[in-house]
């Protein structure tokens, strides 16, 4: 687009502005308060509310809306003439006529854009004849109440849901005064409950039930921090009253999420107040866990450690990658101080293998080479393995926006999806676990096109390893038609900047390390400007990797424990007995370890088997630093204090160190070390030969989709009543066509059978499930999906039997 700087006149003053740019941005940049109700920088200009009108004095048509008028050379604009003010007053007067005014008791009072503008501008005094129609509130949703009598039809909710969220659950119907925002045929909201619509509503027409509080806006304290549910790292703004979160929003313009949140970041914070939270340490006495003081518990833990050292056994720690960097550094130092050979690990976690053994050998470091901004701006994006809408909602939104608003395409190659395939061009419906084969084919095809940089070290060996991966071969392995494969190769070949996105998450079938390596190689061979973004599941996986805490693999720690060599096992936010895949003998390892200390917020399966349980702060109760998938530092602020008696991980580690006689560095040194981690750069880049293994084709029956769900991924979220309330419950979800063919209705009992294993579930018909697929969301080790899948990463087909 033409972006030459030109001179325009604003209120008699000459200013330079980019030709073709949005007049509104220029005026606001000058510090002028131009009122808007329907405008949102994240959306395509709408021009609906007519409040941003300004007067053009250069003979090109009087009143123009600043939001949708492009800057033109020689433009003369006045923003506060009597005519402009009158137009705004008149519009406000009209809007108030059709708005149920109950400001004194309105949820949004003090935080209502309409109220604010009426205050600023006033309205003409005369009374206009108008009778507002009565319209019932939509209270059918457990989360969002819609009040059409307050709606001013700015359309922001509708457009965000469509253009940004890619869901289009709501739309406008009816004409004139009958125009209204509604769902398809008025059914109850059945969406992602991301809350974008509620956060964007300028008035009180959309209210979130969980935040329906009687605390007025001016009494709420606002604090921002980074969300720590997934690795996206969205900035959120919590509003507090008496130290409790009463509302959560995000501001347009926030980094990296530009005001977007997902259901977890919006509503999931009730976990912090869960009655199941541990608030006192527990110590095992006579075979039972009993409450104890911190002093007793820490003393017991230290004693256990001393005994292990005395008996010459190993000390080992496995921590969650949600651990903040400062806490992780202290933990590493503690273990080093205790025993030079102590085992330290952060697994098993989705994304760990992809980074540590997948991309590290290629990039020279366990990190991504593309940022979310790169993904947003790339000519072409290829998303692999999963639907980020389930695991990394922000990434999904970025993909939807680039294609819906700017027409930039992306491709999605995955076995299981949750709606993103509707926006993908092309969508490759892969057989589970065949991403590596697809990437090998693309490598060969793009090289034949002459698109790849052959000067990269290791190119020859890599190239040779993909030589057999022809389109015909790839079509056979992946199940994707040759024409679609060719379309993807063509799109990538034509693009100058390509971003690859590798999704990880529990229950996503296939070897993530192999796929990550193949993706890393291709991204390097695509040359300057192209890169790979690996999306780990937990918020600070990359940061934890950089602290050096991940010295040992979880499997090795388990093996040592099973062999009886581990005398002191410290589990920080890890739940081997409850949350690990069944392929890993977590429970057995616990039993084999001499002394087990568990540090967690809840009494997990693992904690129940521990000798000492230490209650820890979680999520936004913590203060510290993290590193996002693309390598940027993130500062986490404590938004709410943890419950009384609960401490942050690093504090607990310091206390343990004191008792164990290990000297830990002071806060200044830890801060300096933390800062140094941010700039870490990897070694030389080199390609490596790919090992393309071909999975067995699926047997007869349905594909089992055990991928995580956006509402809920199975561990901490289990304690959020809001999230579990929204998540569809334990059931097998299936496409309407499949249910009909099997003669099943909603709620019917059904038996899923595979290879000797069998579970009984209720059937639920869900239009979003692809035919041929049965969706049984992974929750924990004991649930249906887990029992069916057996070994992690192996996808299976199941038989459906009426029960």
């Amino acid at each position: 687009m033409d972006r030459r700087m030109v001179t325009i006149t604003v209120n008699g003053r000459e200013v330079t502005a980019p030709a073709g740019g949005r007049l509104l941005d220029v005026l606001r940049g000058l510090g002028l308060d131009i009122p808007t109700l329907c405008h949102d920088d994240r959306l395509t200009p709408y021009g609906g509310c007519r409040l941003c009108v300004v007067e053009r004095k250069d003979g090109r048509g009087g009143m123009v809306p600043a939001c949708s008028t492009p800057v033109q050379r020689g433009m003369v604009v006045e923003t506060r003439t009597p005519a402009v003010v009158a137009a705004r007053q008149n519009n406000l007067q009209l809007l108030l006529l059709d708005h149920r005014m109950e400001c004194p008791v309105c949820e949004r009072s003090g935080d209502c854009r309409l109220q604010e503008l009426v205050y600023l501008y006033g309205t003409p005094e005369e009374r206009l004849p108008f009778e507002r129609a009565e319209r019932p509130r939509d209270e059918s949703s457990p989360v969002i109440v819609r009040d059409p009598e307050k709606c001013i039809l700015c359309g922001k909710c509708v457009r965000l849901c469509d253009e940004v969220q890619g869901v289009a659950e709501i739309g406008l119907v009816g004409r004139g005064l009958d125009a209204a925002v509604t769902t398809l045929l008025g059914r109850p909201l059945d969406c992602e409950f991301c809350g974008q619509c509620v956060n964007a509503c300028p008035v009180g027409a959309l209210i979130a039930r969980p935040f329906a509080t009687e605390v007025p806006a001016w009494l709420r304290e606002r604090r921002t921090t980074v969300c720590s549910w997934c690795s996206c790292g969205c900035e959120l703004e919590a509003e507090l009253y008496e130290g409790r979160i009463v509302r959560v929003t995000a501001r347009p313009g926030s980094e990296p999420n530009d005001g977007m949140l997902c259901v977890k970041g919006w509503l999931g914070w009730d976990v912090l107040e869960s009655p199941e939270r541990l608030t006192r340490p527990l110590v095992r006495r006579e075979g039972r866990l009993v409450e104890a003081s911190w002093e007793e518990a820490l003393g017991a833990a230290a004693a256990g450690l001393a005994r292990a050292m005395e008996t010459g056994r190993e000390a080992a720690v496995l921590a969650t990658p949600r651990l903040l960097i400062e806490d992780a550094l202290l933990l590493r130092r503690l273990m080093e101080g205790v025993q030079g050979t102590a085992r330290t690990g952060i697994g098993p976690e989705a994304g760990l293998e992809a980074l540590a053994s997948g991309v590290a050998p290629v990039f020279g470091q366990p990190a991504s080479t593309a940022t979310l901004e790169d993904v947003d701006a790339a000519d072409m994006v290829l998303v692999l393995r999963g639907d980020p809408g389930r695991t990394h909602p922000l990434v999904k939104n970025v993909l939807v926006r680039r294609t819906r608003q700017r027409g930039l395409p992306f491709a999605l190659a995955a076995a299981f999806t949750a709606g993103l395939e509707r926006h993908a061009a092309p969508f490759l419906h892969l057989r589970p676990g065949t991403e590596t084969a697809l990437l090998a084919f693309l490598g060969r095809a793009l090289d034949l096109e002459g698109r790849l940089d052959r000067t990269v070290e290791g190119f020859g060996a890599w190239r040779e390893s993909v030589e057999r991966c022809t389109a015909e071969w790839a079509a056979g392995v992946t199940g994707v038609p040759e024409a679609t494969l060719a379309r993807l190769a063509e799109a990538l070949s034509a693009a100058r900047k390509v971003s690859l996105v590798l999704v990880t998450g529990r229950g996503i079938p296939g070897n993530e390390a192999a796929a990550a390596r193949a993706a890393a190689c291709l991204s390097v061979a695509l040359g300057e400007g192209s890169g790979l973004l690996v999306l780990p599941e937990k918020s600070n996986l990359v940061g934890c990797l950089r602290t050096g805490l991940a010295r040992d693999r979880a499997a090795d720690v388990l093996e040592a424990a099973l062999a009886g060599r581990v005398g002191w096992l410290y589990l920080v936010g890890q739940d081997p007995a409850g949350a690990w895949p069944r392929s890993m003998p977590g429970r057995e390892a616990l039993e084999s370890a001499e002394f087990v200390v568990v540090q967690d917020a809840f009494l997990t399966e693992t904690a129940r088997a521990a000798d000492v349980v230490l209650p820890a702060a979680i999520l936004i109760e913590r203060e510290g630093t993290g590193i996002g998938p693309e390598g940027t530092l993130r500062t986490y602020h404590r938004i709410v204090a943890p419950p009384a008696g609960v401490l942050q991980d690093g504090v607990i580690v310091r206390e343990l160190a004191r008792l164990a006689g290990v000297r830990l560095p002071g806060p200044e040194i830890v801060a300096a070390e933390t800062a140094a981690l941010a700039g870490a750069r990897g070694g030389p880049v080199r390609l490596a030969a790919l090992e393309v293994t071909v999975a067995e084709p699926p047997g007869e029956g349905f594909l089992l989709d055990p991928s995580p769900q956006v509402f809920h991924s199975g561990s901490t979220t289990t304690h959020s009543a809001r999230l579990t309330g929204l998540s569809p419950g334990i059931a097998v979800r299936m496409a309407p066509a499949d249910a009909e063919a099997a003669g099943l209705g909603n709620g019917d009992a059904v038996r899923l059978v595979t290879d000797g294993r069998e579970v009984l579930l209720r059937a639920r018909i869900d239009r979003r499930v692809r035919p041929g697929t049965l969706l049984v969301p992974w929750r924990n080790r004991e649930d249906a999906a887990s029992r069916l899948v057996g070994e992690d990463g192996v996808w299976i087909s199941v038989q459906l039997r009426r029960s």
Partner: protein, 637 residues
């Protein structure tokens, strides 16, 4: 007699240029014969042109033509006469209308028995039917039986050139009437730049209402960046009362297809869309048939006439929203989205259908294109006024004698249209005003009726050219009620996107309603003006911006009438029921009690066979007594 399709040879073949020339040679004399039809011509063979425009079809033109065909067969007249079903002849008031050529005799309001007589007497015996019973009179009492009468003689048909002349289903007749010659010229003789130049010099302006120079618009789309472009025909004729676009699609669909094909060649587009409202089933049917026929003949599709140029046209059917005539809403609708306008810029020429550069013209504009390219810009530019060239089709309705479609040169005065073409006011009351441009337009008072009509002069009068709907009113029309009527339409049709239009127009309507109910307040007139002005300047799209026009223009030209409503609680035209005073004329009342029984308010008293009286304090002005009285004793003032 052979049909013209038969005369032209194998009609199912793909046509090349030589074939087109052959058709022209074979069929042209027939078409010329129809155009030249005059009274007194000596017929060897006759054609009976039966109007099959929408209006005539709705008053049973089809069975009339069927009867004529059957009787021609029965009487063995097939060698000497045939029936041709043509498009709209314009004089809808007189439908079903039949023209016998070459005699040039019109028969109005033909029914099946008259159809039989026309065949037997006129075609068979050569006797023109008795004129006295079959005529209708002009203002001076003249008989409208021939093309020489002002209704026809004052017209200059360019856009409607083929309507009422050719069979809209016959590609051959269209070709014979110079059809596809302009396309041939554009494909083989002219550079696209020269076509643009010709259009610009012709001065053709958009006939949809806004009057944007067509050549410039074509140029913008041609110059816009992008690899894919679209051509769109706006046939969502929403102005109630205007039907020239429907008539063209029904009567001459090939002319629109040819023009769109020409545009495709010039701007570099291979795909066109015609957006027609669903309320035009006949137009959709005939356009669809014409598209099929053009495709079959190779005049649409790949490699048109061997030129290497590909073009095709699809029909998109609207769902009856007035706002979908607005170009951005129309494009949303084609894309399958809610028909709702968006801000411009970007203009469709830059970002239109699916964000591609898009050329959007209305049906009448398209129909003007082939003749301009054929006869040259100078010919066209010589017609009309300094800034408005060519002709304009008006849908003449209301209080005039002759209602229907007329095509007249720009610059003609309203008075000429009303008095000469329209035949004057039917009721004999004085001509009061004409509403131009439908609900978005405004009133031109009789005092301004001598101003030459063009885009600018109408705008100065507070009206607009619009799509050409022209409703003529006599002194029996209340201007407040008229404004209320149009405002009701606008309120129904607002899309609801912007508050000035959605809420503001409703407030305007509420104010107008209370004025017509006799509850108007002194400040209401200022309120209407202030709010109307706000809506006009602040609304998003043309619908809102022009919505208050009927109110503002009637306020401007007939303010006193509003004041009488408000101050004297009286409606001078006697249209606002609530403002009428009902009294009983004693001399006429026979005391039958009919009014007493009809009155829902119990306001009428009187003994049987004695004069009744209306108690004005109780009367609710419903008018029930007026309708019930058998002797006309109730007077309403």
């Amino acid at each position: 007699m052979k049909t013209n399709s038969e005369a032209a040879g194998d009609s199912r073949a793909v046509l090349d240029r030589a074939a087109l020339a052959g058709i022209r040679e074979a069929v042209r004399p027939v078409i010329e014969g129809r155009l030249a039809a005059r009274r007194g011509a000596e017929p060897v063979r006759r054609e009976v042109l039966v109007c099959h425009g929408g209006s005539c079809v709705s008053c049973h033109a089809v069975p009339v033509a069927d009867v004529m065909e059957r009787v021609i067969g029965e009487r063995g007249l097939a060698d000497r006469a045939r029936v041709v079903r043509v498009g709209c002849m314009g004089l809808c008031d007189a439908g079903p209308l039949v023209l016998v050529v070459p005699d040039g005799v019109y028969y109005p309001r033909v029914n099946e028995s008259l159809a039989r007589r026309i065949v037997e007497e006129h075609l068979g015996a050569g006797t023109v039917l008795d004129e006295a019973e079959l005529t209708w009179e002009g203002p001076g009492g003249e008989v409208l039986r021939s093309r020489e009468v002002p209704f026809f003689a004052r017209q200059l048909k360019i856009a409607l050139r083929n309507c009422g002349v050719i069979d809209p289903g016959s590609l051959e007749e269209y070709v014979a009437a110079d059809g596809y010659r302009a396309l041939e010229k554009v494909l083989f003789e002219m550079e696209p730049g020269a076509v643009l130049d010709e259009l610009k010099r012709s001065g053709l302006r958009g006939r949809g209402g806004a009057g944007f120079p067509a050549g410039l618009k074509w140029q913008f789309v041609r110059d816009a960046r992008g690899d894919v472009r679209y051509v769109v025909c706006n046939a969502d004729e929403g102005d109630p009362g205007a039907f020239m676009d429907r008539s063209i699609l029904e009567g001459d669909p090939f002319s629109v297809i040819e023009a769109m094909t020409i545009a495709g060649r010039v701007i570099g587009s291979n795909q066109g869309y015609v957006y027609v409202r669903a309320e035009y089933p006949l137009a959709i049917e005939r356009l669809g048939a014409a598209l099929d026929r053009a495709r079959q003949a190779g005049l649409l599709g790949c490699d048109i006439l061997g030129s290497g140029f590909d073009f095709d046209v699809e029909i998109r059917i609207g769902a009856g929203a007035f706002v979908c005539g607005e170009e951005t809403a129309l494009m949303h609708s084609i894309e399958g989205k809610r028909g709702m306008p968006r801000p411009r810029p970007p203009f469709p020429a830059q970002k239109g259908l699916w964000n591609r550069p898009t050329l959007l013209n209305n049906v009448e504009t398209w129909a003007n294109v082939p003749p301009i390219l054929l006869r040259g810009a100078e010919w066209y530019a010589a017609i009309g006024t300094a800034r408005s060239k060519g002709t304009k089709v008006f849908a003449l309705a209301g209080a005039v004698r002759n209602t229907g479609l007329v095509e007249v040169p720009m610059g003609i005065s309203l008075r000429e249209v009303v008095e000469e073409l329209g035949g004057g006011i039917r009721s004999g009351l004085p001509f009061k005003a004409a509403q131009s441009g439908g609900p978005s337009g405004g009133c031109v008072p009789a005092s301004a009726a001598d101003v030459p009509v063009d885009y600018e002069s109408l705008q100065e009068l507070g009206a607009i050219m619009g799509s050409g709907g022209l409703i003529v009113m006599d002194e029996g029309t209340c201007m407040v009620e008229l404004a209320r009527f149009f405002m009701e339409f606008i309120v129904d049709e607002s899309c609801g996107k912007c508050p000035p239009c959605r809420i503001g127009n409703r407030v305007m309507l509420n104010v107008l309603e209370r004025i017509t109910r006799g509850e108007g307040r002194e400040e209401d007139l200022d309120l209407l003006e202030r709010l109307g002005d706000h809506i006009r300047t602040s609304s998003l799209c043309g619908l809102g911006q022009t919505g208050p026009n009927p109110v503002l223009s009637t306020l401007r030209h007939f303010r006193q009438e509003y004041e009488v409503h408000v101050r004297e609680r009286r409606c001078p035209a006697g249209q606002c029921r609530a403002l009428l005073t009902y009294t009983i004329v004693e001399e006429l009342c026979n005391g039958c009690h009919a009014c007493t029984k009809a009155c829902p308010a119990g306001a009428i008293a009187g003994e049987l066979k004695h004069v009744h009286r209306i108690d004005q304090d109780v009367c609710i002005h419903c008018g029930a007594c007026l309708n019930a009285c058998p002797t006309g004793a109730i007077e309403a003032r």
